[in-house]
Amino acid sequence: MSGGLHCVGCPIDDIKEEKVVRLTAEESAIADGGAGEAAAMGMRIVVEMARLMGARELIAITSAHIDGCLYHGDGGVEFAERLVALRGRVAVPTTLNVGALDLITPKRVHSNPHQATMARRLMSAYVELGCEPTWTCAPYQAGHRPSLGEHVAWGESNAVAFANSVLGARTNRYGDFFDICCALTGCAPLVGLHLEINRQATVLVETSAVSSRLKQAGEFYPVLGTWLGATCGSEVAVIDGLPADLPEDWLKALGAAASSSGAVGMFHIAGVTPEAPDVSTALGGRVPRRTISLTPEAVRATRDRLSTVHGGRIDAVAVGSPHFSLAEFAQLERISSGRRFSVPFYVCTGRSTLEQLESTTGSAGLVQRGVEIVVDTCVVVTPILPSGGGVLMTSSGKFAHYTPANTGYEVVYGSLEDCVASAEAGCVIRDESLWS
C-alpha cells in the first residue's frame, strides 16, 4: 500500500484484515469529548478513516493544510459551520488552501450571488476554526515548510506531493473534511506515506533518451509530471538522470501535474530530492518492481495530450497553478518587458507572494502590460475567465488538465515564453524546436 489514503495501485486481494485502531489515553479523551464536541466529531471521522485505511494507531501531527475551504457546494459549508457551532479550534498550526473568491479584488470572480455568499461563509468558518487565512495552494511559498521527517496532514494534491517529495515531510493525501478533522484532533492514521517503507520507490524511471536541452527547460517538467501520473498512478517512482540543480518551481510543476493525471503523493529525483541522494537509497536498497525508460516519443505524445487545440486564436492566458512564486514573477517581468498583451493574461498567486512582490519590484509594470493578478483563488476553481468560452493558453500542466472540464474553454499548453508571445499576438506561437 504505497499511497495510503488513495492506494490506486493496491490490489484488493492484498488488503489485510481490518485492524482495531488502538488509541492512546489522550486520543481516547478527545474521542470522548474532552477537547469539545467538534474535536470529538473530528476524532470519530479520523478513527473511521483509520479503520478503512488499515491503520493500527494514530500519529501526532505538527501542522495541517486545509483544502476544504474551497466552495464545492452547500454541504461543505454546513459541515464547516457545524464545527464552528460546536466551538471547534485547530490543535496545530494550520494554513488554508485557495477559496472560491478573490478577497482582495472581489470583482474578478463572477460567481452568482448564492455561490459568492456561500463561498465567503465557508472561508469565514475555517478562519473561525483558527486556521491562518493564507488562501494558497502553495503553502510552502507562504512560510509553511515542515522539515524532513515531520508528520503533517496536508490537503491539496500538489501541496501533498511537494511536502513529501521536496520537503521530505510525511503526509498522505488528506482531502476535504479529513484535513480539518486531523487539524482539530492533532493526529492522523499511521499508514501510507507516514511509514518509511511506503516512501521507498518501487519504480525506476530512466531518462537518458531525453535530450539534455529539454531537461534544462522549465516546460519539460509539467509534461514529465503528466506522464508520471498517467504511468505510475500512486506508485512511488524515482526518476534518474535529471539535472542536479532543478529549481524548486520546476519540482512544484512536476508534482502538480503528476498529482493531476494520477494519484501521485510522492516522487523521488535522484540527486535532487531529500530522500533520494542516489537511486539505490530511494529504492530502499531493493530491486525496482518496474524500470521504465522515458522515450522522446512518449514525451511528445504527453505534451500533445495536454492541449485540446494546437494553434489559432487564443482568448486568454492563465498561469500560476500552483500559485506563482516570486521567482516566476521575476521571470515573467523579464520576458514580458516592453510587450503589450492583446488578450487577458491572468497570473494566480497567494497573497503572501503578492505582498512580497509589492514590497520589492512591484506589479505596476506587469499590470500595465495587461496582466491581471488573481489572489486567494485561481481560474479553474471559480468563474474568472470571460464567459462564453474560447481558447485558454497556459504554462501549467495542472491548468491544462482541468481547464476543459472546469471552465468550458479549450486549452493549449506552452512554455511561459510561448504564453507571453501568444498573449501579445493573440494567437498560438510556440517554440517547437525543443520537442522535435
Partner: protein, 137 residues
Amino acid sequence: MDSNLVGRVLIPGNAAGPLFLLDSPISFWGGVDPHTGVISDPRHPNHGRKISGTVLGVPATIGSSSSSAIMLELLRNGTAPAALLLGIHECILVLGVIVARELGYPTIPVIELAPAALARLPADQPVSVTEQGSVLY
C-alpha cells in the same frame, strides 16, 4: 438475479439499480457535475452519462482529493449513485459518505470488490447490494 459476489463492506446498506461500470478511472472533482450527476469531463469515455441512481462501478480514481466534497454534494442534492462498487482500495469517495452520515444526509452503501469481480458484473443490468456486502446480479 441468481449470481452473487461478496465484497468488503466499507459503508453498509441495501440498494439496487442498473450497473454502470465506468470505462476508465475518474476524478469526481472536475469529472462529475454534483447538481446533475452527469459525467462532465469531456476527456472521460463516459462523458455525458448520468451516474445518479446507478450502482456505480469505479475501477480506479485519479486526481483531486476534493472528490470527497463532490460525493457529499451528490448525496445532499439527491443526485448520488444508489451504491458504489470500488475496484480499488480508496477512501476519498468513502469519506464523502462518512461526512454525509455525520450531517444526517441520506447515505449509500460502498463495497470494495476485486477488480476481476467488478469487471465480471453485467453492464447496464439490474444489480442489488445487501448490508452484508453481497452484490446480486
